[in-house]
Amino acid sequence: MNAQKPHIVVQDLTMAYGSFVVQSHLTFTIHRGDIFIIMGDSGCGKSTLLNHMVGLIEPAKGEVLYDGVSFWDSPPADRDLLLRRFGLLYQSGALWSSMTLAENIALPLREYTRMSGAEIRELASLKLALVGLTGFEDYYPSEISGGMRKRAGLARAMALDPDILFFDEPSAGLDPISARLLDDLILELRASLGTTFVVVTHELASIFTIGNNSVFLDAERKTMIAAGDPKQMLAECRDPKVHRFLTRGGPPPARENG
Protein backbone atom coordinates (compact mmCIF):
# COMPACT_ATOMS: atom_id res chain seq x y z
CA MET A 1 0.00 0.00 0.00
CA ASN A 2 3.03 2.25 0.18
CA ALA A 3 3.37 2.30 -3.56
CA GLN A 4 1.00 5.28 -3.80
CA LYS A 5 1.94 8.88 -3.95
CA PRO A 6 2.61 10.53 -0.58
CA HIS A 7 -0.42 11.66 1.43
CA ILE A 8 1.22 13.86 4.05
CA VAL A 9 4.71 15.26 3.60
CA VAL A 10 6.56 17.12 6.33
CA GLN A 11 9.50 18.98 4.86
CA ASP A 12 12.41 20.37 6.83
CA LEU A 13 10.06 21.44 9.63
CA THR A 14 11.45 23.52 12.48
CA MET A 15 9.25 24.00 15.52
CA ALA A 16 9.92 26.76 18.02
CA TYR A 17 8.23 28.65 20.81
CA GLY A 18 9.67 32.13 20.39
CA SER A 19 13.43 31.65 20.26
CA PHE A 20 13.31 28.24 21.98
CA VAL A 21 13.71 25.59 19.27
CA VAL A 22 11.83 22.38 20.09
CA GLN A 23 12.80 20.30 17.06
CA SER A 24 14.39 21.11 13.73
CA HIS A 25 14.93 19.53 10.30
CA LEU A 26 12.02 17.10 10.48
CA THR A 27 11.37 15.47 7.12
CA PHE A 28 9.12 12.46 6.65
CA THR A 29 6.36 11.14 4.43
CA ILE A 30 3.09 9.45 5.32
CA HIS A 31 1.15 7.41 2.77
CA ARG A 32 -2.60 6.91 2.59
CA GLY A 33 -3.66 4.16 4.97
CA ASP A 34 -0.50 4.36 7.04
CA ILE A 35 -0.60 4.11 10.79
CA PHE A 36 2.13 6.57 11.56
CA ILE A 37 3.60 6.63 15.05
CA ILE A 38 5.29 9.67 16.54
CA MET A 39 7.48 8.52 19.41
CA GLY A 40 10.30 9.80 21.56
CA ASP A 41 11.12 10.45 25.19
CA SER A 42 8.91 12.77 27.19
CA GLY A 43 9.28 16.47 26.47
CA CYS A 44 10.76 16.01 23.00
CA GLY A 45 7.88 17.78 21.26
CA LYS A 46 5.64 14.94 20.06
CA SER A 47 2.41 16.79 20.84
CA THR A 48 3.92 19.97 19.44
CA LEU A 49 4.59 18.17 16.17
CA LEU A 50 0.98 16.98 16.15
CA ASN A 51 -0.23 20.55 16.73
CA HIS A 52 1.89 21.69 13.80
CA MET A 53 0.44 19.02 11.55
CA VAL A 54 -3.17 19.94 12.36
CA GLY A 55 -2.58 23.64 11.88
CA LEU A 56 -2.81 24.83 15.48
CA ILE A 57 0.74 26.22 15.49
CA GLU A 58 2.49 27.82 12.55
CA PRO A 59 5.90 26.29 11.82
CA ALA A 60 8.96 28.45 12.39
CA LYS A 61 10.37 27.04 9.18
CA GLY A 62 9.50 24.31 6.71
CA GLU A 63 6.25 23.00 5.34
CA VAL A 64 3.49 20.50 5.91
CA LEU A 65 1.96 19.30 2.64
CA TYR A 66 -1.32 17.42 2.30
CA ASP A 67 -1.63 15.67 -1.08
CA GLY A 68 0.98 18.03 -2.40
CA VAL A 69 -0.70 21.20 -1.10
CA SER A 70 1.11 23.21 1.54
CA PHE A 71 -1.15 23.79 4.54
CA TRP A 72 0.30 27.13 5.57
CA ASP A 73 0.59 28.57 2.07
CA SER A 74 -3.11 27.94 1.40
CA PRO A 75 -5.66 30.71 1.89
CA PRO A 76 -7.66 30.39 5.14
CA ALA A 77 -10.79 29.14 3.36
CA ASP A 78 -8.86 26.22 1.84
CA ARG A 79 -7.30 25.52 5.22
CA ASP A 80 -10.77 25.16 6.71
CA LEU A 81 -11.65 22.69 3.97
CA LEU A 82 -8.52 20.70 4.79
CA LEU A 83 -9.30 20.80 8.51
CA ARG A 84 -12.68 19.22 7.84
CA ARG A 85 -10.90 16.12 6.63
CA PHE A 86 -9.09 15.76 9.96
CA GLY A 87 -10.22 14.17 13.18
CA LEU A 88 -8.25 14.88 16.30
CA LEU A 89 -8.23 13.15 19.67
CA TYR A 90 -6.58 15.17 22.41
CA GLN A 91 -4.68 13.83 25.38
CA SER A 92 -7.47 14.82 27.75
CA GLY A 93 -10.32 14.22 25.33
CA ALA A 94 -11.08 17.96 25.13
CA LEU A 95 -14.81 17.35 24.96
CA TRP A 96 -16.96 20.48 25.11
CA SER A 97 -17.95 20.36 28.73
CA SER A 98 -21.20 22.28 28.34
CA MET A 99 -22.63 19.66 25.96
CA THR A 100 -23.66 16.03 26.38
CA LEU A 101 -21.67 13.33 24.60
CA ALA A 102 -24.29 13.08 21.85
CA GLU A 103 -24.22 16.85 21.35
CA ASN A 104 -20.43 16.80 21.23
CA ILE A 105 -20.51 14.34 18.37
CA ALA A 106 -23.46 16.11 16.75
CA LEU A 107 -21.77 19.51 16.56
CA PRO A 108 -19.43 18.79 13.63
CA LEU A 109 -22.24 16.91 11.91
CA ARG A 110 -24.61 19.84 12.30
CA GLU A 111 -21.95 22.22 11.01
CA TYR A 112 -20.93 20.28 7.95
CA THR A 113 -23.73 17.94 6.88
CA ARG A 114 -27.36 18.36 5.91
CA MET A 115 -28.57 15.51 8.09
CA SER A 116 -31.75 15.85 10.12
CA GLY A 117 -31.71 15.93 13.91
CA ALA A 118 -32.88 12.33 14.19
CA GLU A 119 -30.26 11.09 11.74
CA ILE A 120 -27.53 12.95 13.59
CA ARG A 121 -28.66 11.45 16.87
CA GLU A 122 -28.63 8.00 15.30
CA LEU A 123 -25.12 8.50 13.95
CA ALA A 124 -23.90 9.83 17.31
CA SER A 125 -25.21 6.68 18.99
CA LEU A 126 -23.41 4.55 16.43
CA LYS A 127 -20.10 6.32 16.99
CA LEU A 128 -20.48 6.01 20.74
CA ALA A 129 -21.29 2.32 20.36
CA LEU A 130 -18.11 1.84 18.30
CA VAL A 131 -16.03 3.04 21.25
CA GLY A 132 -18.03 1.04 23.77
CA LEU A 133 -20.14 3.84 25.21
CA THR A 134 -23.63 2.66 24.28
CA GLY A 135 -26.21 4.35 26.48
CA PHE A 136 -24.05 7.28 27.52
CA GLU A 137 -25.50 9.68 24.93
CA ASP A 138 -26.97 12.08 27.46
CA TYR A 139 -24.12 12.17 29.94
CA TYR A 140 -22.01 15.27 30.36
CA PRO A 141 -18.22 14.88 30.09
CA SER A 142 -17.82 15.70 33.79
CA GLU A 143 -20.05 12.76 34.72
CA ILE A 144 -17.90 10.03 33.17
CA SER A 145 -14.42 8.71 33.93
CA GLY A 146 -11.21 9.87 32.25
CA GLY A 147 -10.90 6.75 30.12
CA MET A 148 -14.52 7.08 28.98
CA ARG A 149 -13.94 10.74 28.15
CA LYS A 150 -11.05 9.72 25.99
CA ARG A 151 -13.16 7.19 24.15
CA ALA A 152 -15.93 9.76 23.70
CA GLY A 153 -13.30 12.14 22.29
CA LEU A 154 -12.40 9.41 19.83
CA ALA A 155 -16.05 9.05 18.85
CA ARG A 156 -16.18 12.79 18.19
CA ALA A 157 -12.97 12.67 16.17
CA MET A 158 -14.54 9.97 14.00
CA ALA A 159 -17.83 11.82 13.57
CA LEU A 160 -17.23 13.05 10.04
CA ASP A 161 -15.43 9.88 8.88
CA PRO A 162 -12.23 11.89 8.44
CA ASP A 163 -9.45 11.04 6.00
CA ILE A 164 -6.81 11.45 8.65
CA LEU A 165 -7.19 10.80 12.35
CA PHE A 166 -4.66 12.33 14.72
CA PHE A 167 -4.37 10.75 18.17
CA ASP A 168 -2.46 12.31 21.03
CA GLU A 169 -1.59 9.46 23.40
CA PRO A 170 -4.80 7.52 22.81
CA SER A 171 -4.11 4.70 25.22
CA ALA A 172 -2.73 6.75 28.13
CA GLY A 173 -5.18 6.36 31.00
CA LEU A 174 -7.00 3.43 29.39
CA ASP A 175 -7.08 0.00 30.98
CA PRO A 176 -5.21 -2.69 29.01
CA ILE A 177 -8.39 -4.19 27.59
CA SER A 178 -9.76 -0.84 26.38
CA ALA A 179 -6.33 -0.02 24.95
CA ARG A 180 -6.39 -3.30 23.05
CA LEU A 181 -9.92 -2.57 21.79
CA LEU A 182 -8.73 0.83 20.64
CA ASP A 183 -5.92 -0.79 18.64
CA ASP A 184 -8.43 -3.17 17.07
CA LEU A 185 -10.69 -0.24 16.24
CA ILE A 186 -7.82 1.61 14.56
CA LEU A 187 -6.93 -1.40 12.44
CA GLU A 188 -10.59 -1.96 11.59
CA LEU A 189 -11.11 1.67 10.55
CA ARG A 190 -8.08 1.56 8.34
CA ALA A 191 -9.21 -1.66 6.71
CA SER A 192 -12.80 -0.51 6.14
CA LEU A 193 -12.52 3.22 5.48
CA GLY A 194 -8.88 3.51 4.45
CA THR A 195 -8.29 6.13 7.12
CA THR A 196 -4.75 7.34 7.71
CA PHE A 197 -3.66 7.56 11.35
CA VAL A 198 -1.06 9.73 13.00
CA VAL A 199 -0.57 8.55 16.57
CA VAL A 200 1.56 9.96 19.36
CA THR A 201 2.16 7.10 21.78
CA HIS A 202 4.58 5.47 24.20
CA GLU A 203 2.80 2.15 24.34
CA LEU A 204 5.25 -0.35 22.91
CA ALA A 205 2.56 -2.97 22.51
CA SER A 206 0.50 -0.55 20.39
CA ILE A 207 3.51 0.67 18.46
CA PHE A 208 4.37 -2.82 17.27
CA THR A 209 0.76 -4.01 16.80
CA ILE A 210 -0.57 -1.14 14.72
CA GLY A 211 2.32 1.01 13.50
CA ASN A 212 3.67 0.55 10.01
CA ASN A 213 5.54 3.84 9.78
CA SER A 214 7.02 6.11 12.40
CA VAL A 215 9.38 8.85 13.37
CA PHE A 216 11.53 8.98 16.50
CA LEU A 217 12.20 12.42 18.00
CA ASP A 218 15.15 13.03 20.29
CA ALA A 219 14.95 15.72 22.95
CA GLU A 220 18.72 16.13 23.24
CA ARG A 221 19.70 16.39 19.60
CA LYS A 222 16.46 18.28 18.89
CA THR A 223 15.74 16.44 15.69
CA MET A 224 14.50 13.07 14.44
CA ILE A 225 16.97 10.23 14.80
CA ALA A 226 15.07 7.39 13.17
CA ALA A 227 12.12 6.83 10.86
CA GLY A 228 10.29 3.96 9.22
CA ASP A 229 8.45 0.81 10.23
CA PRO A 230 8.88 0.35 14.02
CA LYS A 231 9.47 -3.40 13.69
CA GLN A 232 12.19 -2.77 11.15
CA MET A 233 13.50 0.03 13.32
CA LEU A 234 13.88 -2.39 16.21
CA ALA A 235 15.69 -4.89 14.03
CA GLU A 236 17.93 -2.50 12.16
CA CYS A 237 18.38 0.80 13.94
CA ARG A 238 21.79 1.00 15.56
CA ASP A 239 21.10 4.12 17.61
CA PRO A 240 21.35 3.00 21.26
CA LYS A 241 18.65 5.45 22.37
CA VAL A 242 16.09 4.18 19.86
CA HIS A 243 16.97 0.63 20.78
CA ARG A 244 16.61 1.29 24.50
CA PHE A 245 13.22 2.93 23.89
CA LEU A 246 11.88 0.09 21.77
CA THR A 247 13.04 -2.58 24.22
CA ARG A 248 11.99 -0.78 27.41
CA GLY A 249 15.60 -0.03 28.36
CA GLY A 250 16.88 -3.45 27.30
CA PRO A 251 20.52 -4.26 26.45
CA PRO A 252 22.19 -2.23 23.67
CA PRO A 253 22.12 -3.66 20.13
CA ALA A 254 24.65 -6.36 19.34
CA ARG A 255 26.76 -4.35 16.90
CA GLU A 256 27.35 -0.68 17.68
CA ASN A 257 27.62 1.71 14.75
CA GLY A 258 26.88 -1.11 12.36
Binding site: R79, L81, L83, A94, W96, L107, P108, E111, R156
Partner: protein
Protein backbone atom coordinates in the same frame (compact mmCIF):
# COMPACT_ATOMS: atom_id res chain seq x y z
CA UNK B 1 5.00 -3.47 68.32
CA UNK B 2 2.01 -4.91 70.09
CA UNK B 3 2.08 -2.86 73.26
CA UNK B 4 -0.58 -0.18 73.48
CA UNK B 5 2.03 2.54 73.91
CA UNK B 6 3.55 1.62 70.56
CA UNK B 7 0.23 1.52 68.83
CA UNK B 8 -0.66 5.00 69.98
CA UNK B 9 2.48 6.36 68.48
CA UNK B 10 2.37 6.77 64.74
CA UNK B 11 6.14 6.84 64.55
CA UNK B 12 8.44 5.51 67.20
CA UNK B 13 10.63 8.22 68.69
CA UNK B 14 13.84 8.36 66.72
CA UNK B 15 17.24 8.61 68.29
CA UNK B 16 19.26 11.74 67.63
CA UNK B 17 21.57 11.73 64.67
CA UNK B 18 25.28 12.09 65.44
CA UNK B 19 28.42 11.91 63.45
CA UNK B 20 32.10 11.51 64.16
CA UNK B 21 35.00 12.08 61.86
CA UNK B 22 37.97 9.76 62.24
CA UNK B 23 41.14 10.58 60.38
CA UNK B 24 42.73 7.53 58.77
CA UNK B 25 45.84 9.32 57.58
CA UNK B 26 46.94 10.00 54.03
CA UNK B 27 44.17 12.59 53.55
CA UNK B 28 41.45 10.03 54.14
CA UNK B 29 38.70 10.44 56.72
CA UNK B 30 36.08 8.02 57.87
CA UNK B 31 32.64 9.41 58.60
CA UNK B 32 30.74 7.50 61.29
CA UNK B 33 26.97 7.84 61.22
CA UNK B 34 25.07 7.23 64.42
CA UNK B 35 21.40 7.24 65.35
CA UNK B 36 18.61 8.14 62.95
CA UNK B 37 19.39 10.17 59.86
CA UNK B 38 15.88 11.15 58.96
CA UNK B 39 14.01 14.16 57.65
CA UNK B 40 12.52 14.97 61.06
CA UNK B 41 16.03 15.46 62.50
CA UNK B 42 18.23 18.49 62.18
CA UNK B 43 20.85 17.00 59.93
CA UNK B 44 24.29 18.59 59.72
CA UNK B 45 25.49 20.28 56.54
CA UNK B 46 28.24 18.36 54.70
CA UNK B 47 30.34 21.53 54.63
CA UNK B 48 30.57 21.65 58.45
CA UNK B 49 31.73 18.07 58.54
CA UNK B 50 34.43 18.61 55.95
CA UNK B 51 35.49 21.74 57.81
CA UNK B 52 35.74 20.00 61.20
CA UNK B 53 39.08 19.68 62.95
CA UNK B 54 39.52 16.01 62.23
CA UNK B 55 39.31 16.69 58.52
CA UNK B 56 42.13 19.19 58.53
CA UNK B 57 44.80 19.20 55.89
CA UNK B 58 44.31 18.25 52.29
CA UNK B 59 41.35 15.95 52.16
CA UNK B 60 41.46 13.34 49.41
CA UNK B 61 39.01 10.66 50.29
CA UNK B 62 35.88 10.17 52.40
CA UNK B 63 34.78 6.75 53.57
CA UNK B 64 31.67 5.86 55.53
CA UNK B 65 30.90 3.68 58.49
CA UNK B 66 27.25 2.94 59.05
CA UNK B 67 27.37 0.23 61.69
CA UNK B 68 25.84 2.52 64.30
CA UNK B 69 23.27 3.98 61.93
CA UNK B 70 19.84 3.18 63.35
CA UNK B 71 17.67 4.33 60.50
CA UNK B 72 17.65 6.52 57.42
CA UNK B 73 15.34 8.03 54.84
CA UNK B 74 15.56 10.70 52.15
CA UNK B 75 17.27 12.95 54.70
CA UNK B 76 20.44 10.90 54.47
CA UNK B 77 20.19 10.78 50.68
CA UNK B 78 19.95 14.56 50.44
CA UNK B 79 22.97 14.86 52.76
CA UNK B 80 25.00 12.45 50.65
CA UNK B 81 24.06 14.11 47.35
CA UNK B 82 25.06 17.45 48.81
CA UNK B 83 28.33 15.91 50.00
CA UNK B 84 28.90 14.47 46.52
CA UNK B 85 28.43 17.88 44.96
CA UNK B 86 30.90 19.58 47.33
CA UNK B 87 33.37 16.72 46.99
CA UNK B 88 33.14 17.06 43.23
CA UNK B 89 34.08 20.74 43.47
CA UNK B 90 36.97 20.08 45.84
CA UNK B 91 38.13 16.95 44.03
CA UNK B 92 37.60 14.68 47.01
CA UNK B 93 36.99 11.04 46.30
CA UNK B 94 33.88 9.51 47.85
CA UNK B 95 33.98 5.83 48.67
CA UNK B 96 30.41 4.58 49.00
CA UNK B 97 31.37 1.06 50.07
CA UNK B 98 30.50 1.65 53.72
CA UNK B 99 26.94 2.84 53.00
CA UNK B 100 23.88 0.61 53.37
CA UNK B 101 23.04 -1.12 50.10
CA UNK B 102 19.65 0.59 49.79
CA UNK B 103 21.28 4.01 50.01
CA UNK B 104 23.81 3.15 47.33
CA UNK B 105 21.13 1.84 44.99
CA UNK B 106 18.92 4.89 45.40
CA UNK B 107 21.86 7.24 44.82
CA UNK B 108 22.77 5.32 41.67
CA UNK B 109 19.16 5.53 40.50
CA UNK B 110 19.08 9.30 41.08
CA UNK B 111 22.23 9.63 38.99
CA UNK B 112 21.01 7.24 36.28
CA UNK B 113 19.36 9.85 34.06
CA UNK B 114 21.75 12.70 33.34
CA UNK B 115 20.43 16.23 33.56
CA UNK B 116 18.94 17.43 30.29
CA UNK B 117 20.95 20.24 28.78
CA UNK B 118 19.15 23.54 28.96
CA UNK B 119 16.28 22.11 30.99
CA UNK B 120 17.19 23.77 34.28
CA UNK B 121 15.67 27.22 34.62
CA UNK B 122 18.04 29.97 35.56
CA UNK B 123 16.86 31.96 38.56
CA UNK B 124 18.83 35.06 37.63
CA UNK B 125 16.79 38.16 37.01
CA UNK B 126 17.23 39.81 33.65
CA UNK B 127 18.82 43.25 33.70
CA UNK B 128 16.45 46.18 34.25
CA UNK B 129 16.54 47.43 30.66
CA UNK B 130 15.82 43.94 29.35
CA UNK B 131 12.77 43.77 31.51
CA UNK B 132 11.56 47.20 30.42
CA UNK B 133 12.06 46.17 26.81
CA UNK B 134 10.30 42.85 27.30
CA UNK B 135 7.36 44.58 28.98
CA UNK B 136 7.09 47.08 26.14
CA UNK B 137 7.18 44.31 23.55
CA UNK B 138 4.54 42.38 25.49
CA UNK B 139 2.35 45.49 25.59
CA UNK B 140 2.69 45.92 21.83
CA UNK B 141 1.87 42.28 21.30
CA UNK B 142 -1.21 42.36 23.52
CA UNK B 143 -2.43 45.53 21.77
CA UNK B 144 -2.02 43.79 18.43
CA UNK B 145 -3.91 40.76 19.76
CA UNK B 146 -6.72 42.98 21.00
CA UNK B 147 -7.10 44.69 17.64
CA UNK B 148 -6.94 41.37 15.81
CA UNK B 149 -9.66 40.05 18.08
CA UNK B 150 -11.87 43.11 17.51
CA UNK B 151 -11.28 42.73 13.78
CA UNK B 152 -12.19 39.05 13.86
CA UNK B 153 -15.36 39.82 15.80
CA UNK B 154 -16.32 42.49 13.26
CA UNK B 155 -15.75 40.09 10.38
CA UNK B 156 -17.78 37.42 12.18
CA UNK B 157 -20.62 39.91 12.73
CA UNK B 158 -20.45 40.78 9.04
CA UNK B 159 -20.67 37.11 8.13
CA UNK B 160 -23.65 36.74 10.45
CA UNK B 161 -25.46 39.67 8.85
CA UNK B 162 -24.81 38.31 5.36
CA UNK B 163 -25.99 34.90 6.50
CA UNK B 164 -22.66 33.10 6.10
CA UNK B 165 -22.10 32.43 9.79
CA UNK B 166 -24.47 30.19 11.67
CA UNK B 167 -25.51 31.24 15.16
CA UNK B 168 -26.07 28.61 17.83
CA UNK B 169 -29.64 29.59 18.64
CA UNK B 170 -29.90 27.49 21.78
CA UNK B 171 -26.67 29.03 23.11
CA UNK B 172 -27.94 32.52 22.36
CA UNK B 173 -31.13 31.90 24.34
CA UNK B 174 -29.17 30.53 27.31
CA UNK B 175 -26.94 33.60 27.35
CA UNK B 176 -29.91 35.94 26.95
CA UNK B 177 -31.46 34.36 30.01
CA UNK B 178 -28.19 34.47 31.87
CA UNK B 179 -27.46 38.14 31.28
CA UNK B 180 -31.09 39.25 31.23
CA UNK B 181 -33.59 37.74 33.61
CA UNK B 182 -31.01 36.29 35.99
CA UNK B 183 -29.43 39.70 36.48
CA UNK B 184 -32.70 41.42 37.43
CA UNK B 185 -32.56 40.95 41.22
CA UNK B 186 -29.13 42.50 41.66
CA UNK B 187 -29.91 45.28 39.17
CA UNK B 188 -33.11 46.02 41.09
CA UNK B 189 -31.35 46.22 44.42
CA UNK B 190 -28.38 48.30 43.35
CA UNK B 191 -30.23 50.74 41.09
CA UNK B 192 -32.93 51.39 43.63
CA UNK B 193 -30.38 51.99 46.37
CA UNK B 194 -28.44 54.24 44.04
CA UNK B 195 -31.58 56.31 43.31
CA UNK B 196 -32.26 56.48 47.02
CA UNK B 197 -28.77 57.71 47.88
CA UNK B 198 -28.78 60.26 45.10
CA UNK B 199 -32.17 61.60 46.16
CA UNK B 200 -31.13 61.75 49.79
CA UNK B 201 -27.95 63.71 49.12
CA UNK B 202 -29.79 66.03 46.73
CA UNK B 203 -32.69 66.52 49.13
CA UNK B 204 -30.46 67.73 51.94
CA UNK B 205 -29.03 70.43 49.68
CA UNK B 206 -32.24 71.38 47.91
CA UNK B 207 -34.21 71.68 51.17
CA UNK B 208 -32.06 74.64 52.13
CA UNK B 209 -33.59 76.55 49.23
CA UNK B 210 -37.06 75.08 49.62
CA UNK B 211 -36.64 73.48 46.21
CA UNK B 212 -37.29 69.87 47.26
CA UNK B 213 -39.43 69.15 44.23
CA UNK B 214 -36.32 69.37 42.01
CA UNK B 215 -35.08 66.13 43.55
CA UNK B 216 -37.21 64.51 40.85
CA UNK B 217 -35.27 66.33 38.11
CA UNK B 218 -31.94 65.51 39.72
CA UNK B 219 -32.62 61.81 40.13
CA UNK B 220 -34.49 61.43 36.85
CA UNK B 221 -31.88 63.05 34.62
CA UNK B 222 -28.82 61.61 36.38
CA UNK B 223 -30.16 58.07 36.43
CA UNK B 224 -31.71 57.98 32.97
CA UNK B 225 -28.93 59.77 31.17
CA UNK B 226 -25.86 58.07 32.62
CA UNK B 227 -25.99 56.39 35.95
CA UNK B 228 -28.54 53.66 35.20
CA UNK B 229 -26.38 52.49 32.32
CA UNK B 230 -23.16 52.78 34.35
CA UNK B 231 -24.67 50.80 37.24
CA UNK B 232 -25.78 48.09 34.82
CA UNK B 233 -22.38 48.13 33.16
CA UNK B 234 -20.50 47.64 36.41
CA UNK B 235 -22.87 44.93 37.59
CA UNK B 236 -22.61 43.10 34.29
CA UNK B 237 -18.83 43.49 34.18
CA UNK B 238 -18.54 41.73 37.53
CA UNK B 239 -21.24 39.22 36.78
CA UNK B 240 -21.15 38.41 33.09
CA UNK B 241 -17.76 39.70 31.93
CA UNK B 242 -16.07 37.61 34.61
CA UNK B 243 -18.23 34.61 33.75
CA UNK B 244 -17.37 34.85 30.04
CA UNK B 245 -13.65 35.07 30.80
CA UNK B 246 -13.83 32.09 33.16
CA UNK B 247 -15.91 30.00 30.74
CA UNK B 248 -13.66 30.58 27.75
CA UNK B 249 -10.52 30.37 29.90
CA UNK B 250 -11.52 26.95 31.20
CA UNK B 251 -12.31 25.85 27.66
CA UNK B 252 -8.83 27.00 26.65
CA UNK B 253 -7.29 24.99 29.51
CA UNK B 254 -9.22 21.88 28.47
CA UNK B 255 -8.17 22.31 24.82
CA UNK B 256 -11.86 22.69 23.97
CA UNK B 257 -11.09 25.77 21.87
CA UNK B 258 -8.36 23.86 20.01
CA UNK B 259 -10.91 21.15 19.37
CA UNK B 260 -13.18 23.72 17.71
CA UNK B 261 -10.36 25.16 15.63
CA UNK B 262 -9.24 21.79 14.32
CA UNK B 263 -12.79 21.09 13.24
CA UNK B 264 -12.64 24.28 11.21
CA UNK B 265 -15.26 25.91 13.46
CA UNK B 266 -14.34 29.49 14.27
CA UNK B 267 -14.26 30.00 18.04
CA UNK B 268 -15.24 33.61 17.43
CA UNK B 269 -18.42 32.66 15.59
CA UNK B 270 -19.21 29.75 17.84
CA UNK B 271 -18.35 31.16 21.25
CA UNK B 272 -18.02 34.93 21.07
CA UNK B 273 -20.90 35.91 18.76
CA UNK B 274 -23.75 34.46 20.85
CA UNK B 275 -22.31 36.08 23.99
CA UNK B 276 -21.81 39.41 22.26
CA UNK B 277 -25.30 39.44 20.78
CA UNK B 278 -26.96 38.36 24.01
CA UNK B 279 -25.27 41.14 25.96
CA UNK B 280 -25.99 43.75 23.27
CA UNK B 281 -29.66 42.79 23.26
CA UNK B 282 -30.03 42.68 27.03
CA UNK B 283 -27.95 45.65 28.18
CA UNK B 284 -30.31 48.36 26.81
CA UNK B 285 -33.29 46.58 28.36
CA UNK B 286 -31.51 46.15 31.68
CA UNK B 287 -30.57 49.82 31.51
CA UNK B 288 -34.20 50.91 31.03
CA UNK B 289 -35.17 48.69 33.94
CA UNK B 290 -32.40 50.18 36.08
CA UNK B 291 -33.66 53.67 35.15
CA UNK B 292 -37.10 52.76 36.41
CA UNK B 293 -35.73 51.34 39.64
CA UNK B 294 -33.54 54.40 40.19
CA UNK B 295 -36.53 56.69 39.81
CA UNK B 296 -38.47 54.47 42.22
CA UNK B 297 -35.63 54.86 44.73
CA UNK B 298 -35.84 58.64 44.39
CA UNK B 299 -39.59 58.45 44.83
CA UNK B 300 -39.25 56.63 48.12
CA UNK B 301 -37.02 59.36 49.55
CA UNK B 302 -39.29 62.11 48.19
CA UNK B 303 -42.42 60.62 49.70
CA UNK B 304 -40.89 59.73 53.09
CA UNK B 305 -38.57 62.64 53.70
CA UNK B 306 -39.83 65.53 51.67
CA UNK B 307 -43.61 65.15 51.86
CA UNK B 308 -43.95 65.24 48.11
CA UNK B 309 -46.79 63.04 46.91
CA UNK B 310 -46.36 60.32 44.31
CA UNK B 311 -48.27 62.07 41.50
CA UNK B 312 -46.37 65.31 42.01
CA UNK B 313 -43.03 63.49 41.89
CA UNK B 314 -43.88 61.52 38.76
CA UNK B 315 -45.22 64.62 37.02
CA UNK B 316 -42.07 66.51 37.82
CA UNK B 317 -39.96 63.58 36.54
CA UNK B 318 -41.94 63.40 33.29
CA UNK B 319 -41.57 67.11 32.86
CA UNK B 320 -37.79 66.94 33.37
CA UNK B 321 -37.09 64.03 31.06
CA UNK B 322 -37.32 63.90 27.32
CA UNK B 323 -36.61 61.24 24.75
CA UNK B 324 -33.00 62.24 24.16
CA UNK B 325 -32.13 61.44 27.78
CA UNK B 326 -33.38 57.91 27.32
CA UNK B 327 -31.58 57.51 24.03
CA UNK B 328 -28.30 58.71 25.48
CA UNK B 329 -28.71 56.23 28.36
CA UNK B 330 -29.50 53.35 26.03
CA UNK B 331 -26.54 54.27 23.81
CA UNK B 332 -24.30 54.06 26.86
CA UNK B 333 -25.71 50.66 27.71
CA UNK B 334 -25.22 49.35 24.20
CA UNK B 335 -21.59 50.48 24.14
CA UNK B 336 -21.00 48.92 27.57
CA UNK B 337 -22.58 45.67 26.41
CA UNK B 338 -20.19 45.46 23.46
CA UNK B 339 -17.18 46.32 25.64
CA UNK B 340 -18.03 43.83 28.38
CA UNK B 341 -18.62 40.99 25.93
CA UNK B 342 -15.46 41.81 23.97
CA UNK B 343 -13.14 42.12 26.94
CA UNK B 344 -14.65 39.15 28.77
CA UNK B 345 -14.27 36.88 25.74
CA UNK B 346 -10.87 38.29 24.75
CA UNK B 347 -9.33 37.63 28.16
CA UNK B 348 -10.86 34.16 28.17
CA UNK B 349 -9.49 33.28 24.75
CA UNK B 350 -6.04 34.65 25.62
CA UNK B 351 -6.00 32.60 28.81
CA UNK B 352 -2.98 30.39 29.52
CA UNK B 353 -3.17 26.70 30.26
CA UNK B 354 -3.33 26.57 34.05
CA UNK B 355 -5.82 27.06 36.85
CA UNK B 356 -4.14 30.27 37.97
CA UNK B 357 -4.27 31.61 34.40
CA UNK B 358 -8.06 31.31 34.51
CA UNK B 359 -8.07 33.36 37.70
CA UNK B 360 -5.86 36.00 36.11
CA UNK B 361 -8.03 36.07 32.99
CA UNK B 362 -11.14 36.65 35.11
CA UNK B 363 -9.53 39.39 37.16
CA UNK B 364 -8.12 41.22 34.18
CA UNK B 365 -11.43 40.89 32.34
CA UNK B 366 -13.29 42.65 35.16
CA UNK B 367 -10.62 45.33 35.50
CA UNK B 368 -10.51 45.93 31.74
CA UNK B 369 -14.33 46.09 31.55
CA UNK B 370 -14.62 48.62 34.36
CA UNK B 371 -11.84 50.82 32.99
CA UNK B 372 -13.42 50.65 29.54
CA UNK B 373 -16.82 51.57 30.99
CA UNK B 374 -15.50 54.63 32.79
CA UNK B 375 -13.38 55.81 29.86
CA UNK B 376 -16.18 55.32 27.36
CA UNK B 377 -18.61 57.16 29.66
CA UNK B 378 -16.28 60.13 29.66
CA UNK B 379 -15.95 59.95 25.87
CA UNK B 380 -19.70 59.70 25.29
CA UNK B 381 -20.36 62.59 27.67
CA UNK B 382 -17.84 64.68 25.76
CA UNK B 383 -19.33 63.75 22.39
CA UNK B 384 -22.87 64.52 23.63
CA UNK B 385 -21.61 67.85 24.87
CA UNK B 386 -20.09 68.71 21.50
CA UNK B 387 -23.23 67.57 19.67
CA UNK B 388 -25.37 69.43 22.23
CA UNK B 389 -27.59 66.40 22.80
Amino acid sequence: MTSSADRNQIQPASSRCCWTVEPEGNGTIRLLFEGDWKLDQTLPKPAEILASDAAEGTLRKVRFDCRALAGWDSGLLVFLRDLDRIAGQRRIEIDRAGLPEGVRKLLDLAAAVPERKGARRSVERDPFLDRVGATAMALGKSAAQTFTFIGECTVALGRLVTGKARLQRSDLLVFIEDCGVSALPIVTLLSMLFGLILAFIGAVQLMMFGAQIYVADLVGIAVVRVMGAVMCGIIMAGRTGAAFAAQLGTMQVNQEIDALKTLGISPIEFLVLPRLLALCLMMPLLCLYADLMGIAGGLIVAVWMLDINVVQYLNQTLHALNMSHFLVGVAHALVFGVLIALFGCLKGIQCGRSASAVGEATTSAVVACIVAIVVSTALITFICNVLKV
